[in-house]
Symmetry: C2
Subunit: 352 residues, 2 copies
Amino acid sequence: MGIVTSLPPSELQSSVPVVTGPVAAGGEDVLTRLVALIGEDLSACNTAIVARMHSQVALIPQLAAHIVAAGGKRLRPVLTLACARMCGYAGDRHINLAACVEFIHTATLLHDDVVDESVLRRGLASANAIFGNKASVLVGDFLFARAFQLMVADGSLEVLGILSQAAATIAEGEVLQLATQNDLGTDEARYLDVVRGKTAALFAAACEVGAVVADRPAAEAAALREYGTCLGIAFQLVDDALDYAADQETLGKTVGDDFREGKITLPVLVAYAAGSEADRVFWRRVIEDSEQTEADLAHAMALMENVDAIRITLDRAAEFADAAKAQLAVFPDSAYRASLMEVADYTVSRVR
Amino acid sequence: MGIVTSLPPSELQSSVPVVTGPVAAGGEDVLTRLVALIGEDLSACNTAIVARMHSQVALIPQLAAHIVAAGGKRLRPVLTLACARMCGYAGDRHINLAACVEFIHTATLLHDDVVDESVLRRGLASANAIFGNKASVLVGDFLFARAFQLMVADGSLEVLGILSQAAATIAEGEVLQLATQNDLGTDEARYLDVVRGKTAALFAAACEVGAVVADRPAAEAAALREYGTCLGIAFQLVDDALDYAADQETLGKTVGDDFREGKITLPVLVAYAAGSEADRVFWRRVIEDSEQTEADLAHAMALMENVDAIRITLDRAAEFADAAKAQLAVFPDSAYRASLMEVADYTVSRVR
């Protein structure tokens, strides 16, 4: 099973230069330190994940294992575990709740596979490509339901409320993304609404649950929620930049997925806004009319380079990473807090 | 908005004869009586459904309305409402919980649209055909999450446990169906496992919640759960028969959907088991090898008629309807109980 310590090298280095933004310590060090801090919790969480995705229907654990255990970073459950410990929590409820967070994340990945028709995910063939659309939708539904069963067993209505709201917000963000697809009239605020929904909502909930399980005051829960929101936005902005900047072989992710789907992301909006009239004709053809030839992705990337679209996107990501770190000021200094600070920087620096 | 009183005529009469089984009073009378009993509750439930499927993301209520408000029978929430009242419940929590049941049902319909590639549902073009796979998956996810938010607001962990388990069981049943697809080696027991999951689990939960909300003893909750299970199985068996027996124009449902997908249902298993070697060669070609020509559906229906496969399926349905009614013996006689008895008969007699 993949855990944080077995990250592929591709996650730690890339050929894309970061032009600006805070520079963290090496990504490997950041993750190693965090895993050292919560290593036992993470092992227990991984065990819970494997145990709870079991079903007598064999295809379910088979397919779920393909994506749950395929070497993901476990970033979201790691956040739950680290936030709970930073809040002084000494029990073990956070283990299963972190597993819930990962199940919800995995369910959205499986449904996203159907949605995005992406061929590669984490360097492996996607579950969808191997098992088909049907199985991806249904196993996603199973994991989602299983997450709620685990929360019910935990017994906290507050946690149930946080994660059911996150699930609704994720779906809203994904639908909003669908509505903005191919629409170059989308502005940055609306794009950020999409990102807040589809990505940041689960980061926010994952962090907030850490404070709630530790029974901390509302202000601390709110601070962790905002930390997660900003971290999630930074994370997604970097992902959106990578879709036009990464090397497919080293990143293990299909480059140009967003482009081919006509997805509206910040690099596209920046390039469109700053482009010449000829550039705009190009963008309208490839994004709004979905008329693309093989050379178009390279041309799109060249246009982005002309106007610094990737750098500008990464700058925005760095701003959100800084905002995330600022939220941690309400907590006393600790190894956990230091590590959560570093994670924010790592989110941006992972493209270096 | 469609409510029970506005059922299309097609739901109430059909050209398919019932060869045997208990004969209920006219379906229209059964439903009219039930709606008269719980009419106010059902109106309040419909209002809650419309209010709670709202989202600032306009596509969500648009798409949800297409399927939630398109004239479905509301059979599952009606069961929750009627069971709660039969149990003497005098509050209003059952209204929102019935809406949760309908949301979960609608989510599975939306995901089933993706899965089944069905073109018609309830006589309208399916949401999938109009809005696409992506939107169907995501709006289904939204409604599923919304259902859990409503349950959290209600505040009963017991209800949350019942419906989260139902959701997991539904997904397991659907995946098991996928695993048995095209497999004529499936036996009736395994087929019934699929039906218990994909259909009966939500009927069971819908009924059980009625007893739980009324704070009735565990034996009564168990009886209603079993009533729902048997009713759901009967309902699905009839549906499976209709896929080979209904008149598409009057039923408003695509005939032969199951056949084209190579779905294993009881009519197929009966026809395969009782068929000649030549018949079996036919079944293996069309179901296992998915090699079908246009004339094959009519031939399949003729082979079923030869061995009484539809009658045998409806007989099994009638047995489960009787088993459902037997569970109601633990409740004192009341108009609600009488109506729930009639609903069991109606489930089978709706094919008359």
